[in-house]
Structures are given as C-alpha cells and as structure tokens.
Subunit: 342 residues, 3 copies
C-alpha cells in the first residue's frame, strides 16, 4: 500500500493538519508503528502515547499543542481507522474477477455478475452464486447450493449439497457447512446411521471463522440468523437454530436441536447439552457448560453453568476448600473434647 494523507482524508473525512503529501505505506498500533506507518489515538487519553509513537502520521481526535507531525483530525479516529482499513483489506484480499481456467462449474449452475472463482474451485450442479461473490482457490461447493450477493468463501471451505447462504457473508478457510448431523439408531450394540437429509440456512452478514463445522439438519434446517459472528473452531450440531446477531467465540459447541435467541454472547469454549433453549440477550461465560434452558437476559458461568454471581463466589471459595476441610476436622475434635470435659 502507498497512500498520502490527502488520499486518506477522502476516505475517512476530517481535516489534514501538516503536510498532506506525507506518504504512509503501512498501518500499525502506536506502540509498534515506524516512520512509514499511519497510526491512531482512539481518544484524548491516548494523545500522550501518540506523542511517544514513532508513527509517520496519525488519526487524532484533536491536535494537541506543539504536536508537529502530520495528522488527520477527525471526530472518531477509531471509526475513521476502521473505514480506512476496510479499503485496505479489500485491496489486500482482492481476487481476479472471472472464472479461473482450472475452476469447474457443474451443469445448470448460474453465476451472478462479477463473480470470482479462484483456481481449483469446484461448484456443483444447479447452484446459484450471487453477484460479486468471491470464491477463493480450492473451495468446494456442493450441488444445488444457493449463495447470496457479495459473499466471500476463503480457500478450503466446503459447502455440501443444498446449503443456502445469504448476502455479504464471510467464511474463513477450511470451514465445513452441511456435514451430516451425528445421529444413529442403537441396534444390538451397533449404530445404524440415521440419514441426514435436511440442510443448513445461513442469513445475511454472517461471518464464520476458520475450521468450523456446521451440520445439516436431519430433516429440516440448521439455521444461523443474519448478523451472527462465529469465531474459529465452532461446532453447530444438526437442527440448531440461532437468532440474529448472536456472537460465538472460539470453540463454541452447540448440541443438537438447541435454539439460541438473538444477541446472545457465548464466550470461548462454551458448550450446551441438546434440546434446550437459550433466550435473547443471554451472556454465557468462557468455558461454560449449559445444561438447562435459559430465560432471556440470563448471565451464567461455570461448568455446569450457574448464575454468574454465584459461580464467582464458588470460584473464590474453592481456594479456601482445603483449609475449610482442616478447620472442619479441627472443630469436630474441639467439640468432642468439650463434650468429654463436660
């Protein structure tokens, strides 16, 4: 990258202070920036750190007295930085438009305008890929999938047959969508597979991390609502339904037929038993194991999960447990002694 402050101010808004022809070739945090980097002070409290920083140019909420280095002064420097970063990120991840000669597209598949299919991409039969989708190299899309406009599938992603995906989704490398749910009939110690003929439906603006697995429903649909964000290594079992704008950090593990509401936050490594319901706006602490349905707005932590206040008290008390046992033994002996005296 190579931008002048005059280029950047057109993207971010705000006002250039100092030399607008100053060139930056990278972006970095205040602490790590060098003279070629643009950096930013999130708010006035970070201005002293900006003074200390070696960055070549800055996005600042205000220009402090005697600050003599080139900057853009803008109301919300973090938002301005994010806006600029989005332009940068698009440039960094841009793929050549069109269909790479080594890509394979099945019969009856419709490709929208401006679609990019990378080298080694395989798209099955009778799919519909929306306008401006970017499908990176070595992705596999099964038969009869439907993908909305502007969705990005990174390398190594696999969509099995009939998966439906909304617009502007992002799926990170080596994630699987539409694998069979885990269902068997026990017959004399053997496990007969229950065929999984449902599918997966993913809303708009969903982002899914690397190495996730989202199973297809047995009969109906596994559903991930619009605006959901899943971190790496998440596991969504068959028939799960997740409401809009729910966030799941790395290693979320949702068992079969669980219903999760909107705007739920699951911290990393949280898991659930199957067939429960988690209400809107619940917050689930890291590593929690949810064994029962949760009412909207509940905040829990622990394995098994408890109301967060109680769990915190338990955790704090556990450090005293060995001493408690010694105290208890001592008390017993004392009480016995007292009685012997009496």
């Amino acid at each position: 990258m190579k931008y002048t402050l005059n280029d950047i101010v057109k993207i971010t808004g705000g006002e250039v202070v100092g030399d607008g022809d100053t060139v930056v070739t990278g972006v970095a945090s205040l602490r790590k920036a060098t003279g070629d980097d643009l950096s930013f002070a999130r708010d006035e409290a970070h201005l002293p750190a900006a003074r200390e920083s070696a960055a070549g140019a800055f996005l600042l909420p205000a220009c402090p007295d005697g600050f003599d280095r080139p900057a853009i002064v803008v109301e919300n420097p973090f938002l301005a930085m994010t806006t600029f970063l989005a332009v940068l990120a698009d440039a960094k991840t841009a793929q050549p438009p069109g269909i790479h000669p080594t890509a394979v597209v099945g019969e009856g598949t419709r490709l929208g305008e401006g679609v990019s299919l990378g080298a080694g991409v395989v798209v099955g039969r009778e799919c519909a890929i929306g306008d401006r989708c970017t499908i990176h190299p070595n992705v596999t899309v099964g038969d009869r999938c439907r993908i909305g406009e502007g969705t990005v599938l990174y390398a190594g992603v696999v969509l099995r047959e009939e998966v439906e995906m909304g617009c502007r989704c992002i799926v990170h490398p080596n994630t699987t969508i539409g694998s069979d749910g885990f269902g068997y009939l026990q017959e004399g110690g053997k496990h007969e597979k229950i065929p999984q003929v449902g599918t997966v439906e993913i809303g708009d603006d969903v982002e899914i991390g690397a190495g996730c697995a989202i199973d297809r429903a047995a009969l109906d649909k596994t559903v991930i609502g619009s605006g959901c964000k899943l971190d790496n290594h998440c596991h969504i079992a068959h028939n799960v339904e997740i409401g809009e704008n729910t966030i799941m950090m790395a290693y979320g593990k949702i068992s079969g037929s669980v219903k999760i509401g909107r705007n739920v936050i699951l911290a990393g490594d949280a898991s659930t038993v199957d067939n429960i319901e988690i209400g809107d706006g619940c917050i689930i602490g890291a590593g929690s194991g949810i064994a029962h349905s949760m009412k909207p707005g509940e905040v829990v932590w622990g394995k098994p999960a408890r109301p967060i206040g109680l769990e915190k008290r338990i955790v704090a008390t556990l450090g005293h447990l060995p001493q408690m046992r010694r105290d208890l033994k001592h008390l017993k002996r004392e009480l016995e002694k007292d009685r012997d005296h009496a």
Copy 2:
C-alpha cells in the same frame, strides 16, 4: 425429490391408506412440515401431533379414527422413515461415476469398479481404492493408501501416506487422517522431532465427522475399530487404539497410546491423559477429563472424572460452598465464644 406414496411404500413396506398417488417433494418433522412434505409419527403417542401437522402425507404406526389424510401405516415408522431417508440421501449426495478430467491419479494406483473421483481429487502412487468408493472434489489421498469398498470421502478430506481404511466408511469434509503424532525429544530447551513412521488403520463402517484429526502412530498403527462413530472436531493422538462400535461425540480428545475398548460412549468434549486403558462399555460424561484407567462398564463424569454418582453430589454441593464457608466461620466464632464463657 418427487415421490408418490405408492413409490415410497415399495421402499418402506407397510400399507397405503388414502390416495397412493399423493406426491411429496420433501421430508420434514411434524412441526415444520408443509403440504408438500412427508412426515412421520414415531409411535402412537405422536398421533395427536400428526393430526396437528400440516404435512401432506405421513408414516404412521396406526391410522387413528377420522384421520383422513394420505398415509402409510407401518409397524416401525421411524425405521421406515430411516429406510426411505437413506434412499433420499443417496440421491442427494450422488456423484457422477468415473474419473473427473481434473482428478490426478498417481502411478501404480488401482481403482475398483464404479469408483467416482471428483474434480480436483488427487490420489497418490500405489494406492488401492475399492469398488464403488466415492471421493468428492478436492480430496487428497497420499501414496500407498488402501481404501475398502463403498467408502465415501467428502470434499477437503486429507489422507496422508499409507493410511488403511475399511469398507463403507464415511469421512466428512476437511478431516485429516495420518498427520504426524506429536512427539519430540527435549535437547537443551529445543524440541527435536521424533519422526512418525507408523500409520493409521480404520475398520469397516466407521464414520468420522468434519474437521477431525487422527494422527499416525510413531512406529506401529493408530487403530479405529469397525463400527466406530466419531463426531466433528475429534482428535486422536498417535498410537491410540479404539475397539469396535465405540462412539465419540464432538471434540473428543484422546491422548497418545490410550487403549479404548468396545462400545464405549464418550460424550462431547471428553479428554484423556496418555497411556491409559478404558474398558469395554464405559460411559464418559460430557467434558470429562479421564486421568486414570477405567475398568469395563465404569460410568464417570467430571474434570478430573469421578464415579458419576459422586460427581453429581459434588456438583450439587458446590452451589452451597460459599454458604458452607460462612457457616464454618460462624461455628468457629461460636465455639470460641462458648469457651470464653466457660
């Protein structure tokens, strides 16, 4: 799909009640079915739900009085549905037979009859792929692998060199079989790799979920017995041996050289230390950490795992722990007071 009840009854057995020419184009649960769907009542207790359902046709254990919609009456509707679903699933996942022009097959590799190799598949040298195997797009099979008849490898699966796999196995997308075990010699703070030259042997009728990793043995074989079923994201370290028909739910983590018996059930997220033995028929609760060998038939839960009855009592008591500490302090004070009085 498009089936009449007369078509379906040939697959499921039973007897058509009502119009056998009724067409269904999907399959759904009673709750979610629409007029184009076939649904089923698992047993007589589900007949009221069948009456309420919008499904266009049914598999029923009996035709209740006044039920006037088309149905197939069959002794075990769930089994009948499963039988029909298997036909459906085969149709949905069917791949074109033969070798896609973009597939690459190494020298000396023998392909059985009716094998399907999808686009972008790479099979190494001197492999043997059994009759009717289906290898989906972008799968990589290393040199000298052997795969039994009728096995299905979904897109993105990687078998490294010399892996042996039985008949009728199913491996879901982006799973790895035959990665190096994790073994190093510590030499002055550095870690010298112990080369892993063993392999992996997988029996018949094994199903392995998406995103799993099964490491090759250091010298010998990592073994997964026939009939085992592994859910998504399982990790099997080097030299592990698992007996027949064992079930491992999502995120099972088995450390090096562990021996697991037959018909063991490991619930989700269970893990073990290395070098232990878990007897036949053991049941291991969700999230358990197994630190010691287990005798056949033991049932444990917890991290570290304890006999399930004890663990349940501990979990139930933990909620009282903060109060117990307060009580204990109070008792101490009271006892001291009594003594001061005495």
Copy 3:
C-alpha cells in the same frame, strides 16, 4: 522400505553384532514387532523386553549375554532410532520435485531451487517460496506470502495473503494461517467488522498440527517464535506473540493479544483470556483456564488456573465435599443442642 543392518549402521553409527546382511522391511516397538521389523531397547532396563520381542533386528545399548539375534550396539539407541526414522520418514513422504502440471502459480512469484508443488496447489502472486520447500497437493498459498527454505506444507493447508514463514517448518493438513482475527464494533446490537489487515509471522523450525487456525493481527503481526511446536486443533487469536521453543498440546486456545514467553509448556486444552502475559518457562496443566498474567516459571493447573499445589489439594478435597456438608450440618446441630443444654 528394505534395509540391511549394514545399511542402517551407516546412518545410526554403532557396531553391528551378528549378520549385517539381515534385511528389515519395517520398524516397530518391541511389543508389536515381527521378524521383518527393526526394533530398539531404549536402555538396559529394556533388554529383557528385547529378548521377548519377535523383532528381526535390534538397536541395543549393549549386547546381553547369550543374545544371538542381529543387532546394532550403539550408545543411545533411541537417538539412533530417531536418526534412522528421519531417513525413513523422508523416503515415505517424498514428493516428486518440480511443479505439477495442475499447480497454479501467480504472477511475480519466485520459486526456489528444488521446490515441489503438488497437484492442485495454488500459489498466489508475488510470493517467495524458498529452496527445497515441499508443498503437498491442494494447498493454497495467498498473495505475497514468503516461505523459508525446506518448509513442508501438507495437503489442504491454507495460508492467506502476506503470511511470513521461516525455514524448515512443517504444517499439517487442513491448517489455516492468516484467517481474520475476531474483532467487531458493537453498534446498536449489530456487529461491525473491524478489518484485519495485519499478518502472521512464523519463525524457523516451527511445527503446526492438523486443523489449527492462526489468525492474522488486526494491524501488526501475530508472531509464533522459532522452534515452537503446536499440536492439532490449536487456535491462536489475533495479535498473539509466542516466544521461542514454546510447546502447545492439542486444543490450545490463546485469546487476542496474549504474550507468551519462551519454553512455555501448555498441556492439552489449555486456554487463556485476552491481553495477558505468560512468562518464560511457565507450565500450564491440561484443561487449564488462564485468567491472569503469569510470572516466569510459574506452574499452574485448573479452570480458573491456580498454583498447581493448591489446585491438587482442591481436587483432592472436592471428593470429600458432600461429606463435609453433612459434617457441617451435624456440627451446627450439635452446637445448638449443647447450647440448649447450657
């Protein structure tokens, strides 16, 4: 493989005892070896097991009286075996040199001498791939990546754009390096993506297991120091920095911006909160959840983690917890009774 003892002694050093023309075609542990296998006794304590073994030839620390089978006597048989195994492993995993006709290499990319690019490999634009790198089939390397000499990427690995990787690294199948970090701005219940334009820098001699995900930094670099070894299914969030020679067993989960020192050992399934620092030489027990920074050399265990001695006492005491509660209730009643009497 097919080696005589005379061949092997040239690799391992030591001295042949018995027939140097003895041929071995495999390598196995003492317990599992057959007459065609080479095996080894780690030290004198294993000599009785060597006597019992069916192996056809041995690496031994000394030749015991009356041991009449062919052997190589060498000071450190384990090291000798490892040296020989490395030769074997190289032979087993060797790939044809050169660029497979189905591999795709982007414009401006420089390939070193002796590079092997397998079938279906896709390398982006303006990359630099060092001498003697082996890139197995169906790997995807994004634009502007740099990979040092002798590095091996197994099938299905994905490096996104601009990742930098040192020399002699090994990355196992289906691992992702450079996926976006998980960062959003909350705006009225919706989650606006913070673009992740940093990258990942991996040192020399790093080994990364199968199915891992290493996220790129938001702005700067996620760093994995030279000599680090990561097992399968590890997750490294954005902006993490890990020092040299640190070991992370399966399912290590490191949250954003965590700094981990040198020669740290994280046992399996360990996790951290974000923004903490873990000093050099710390040891973290299996399944631990690290919630606070750790000073160099600390040894912890538990979730949340505590000093290992305390955690062990807590774990030991927990088994008594239900009885402690009963004792406590009993004491209370007794004390009340005493007072009633008084």
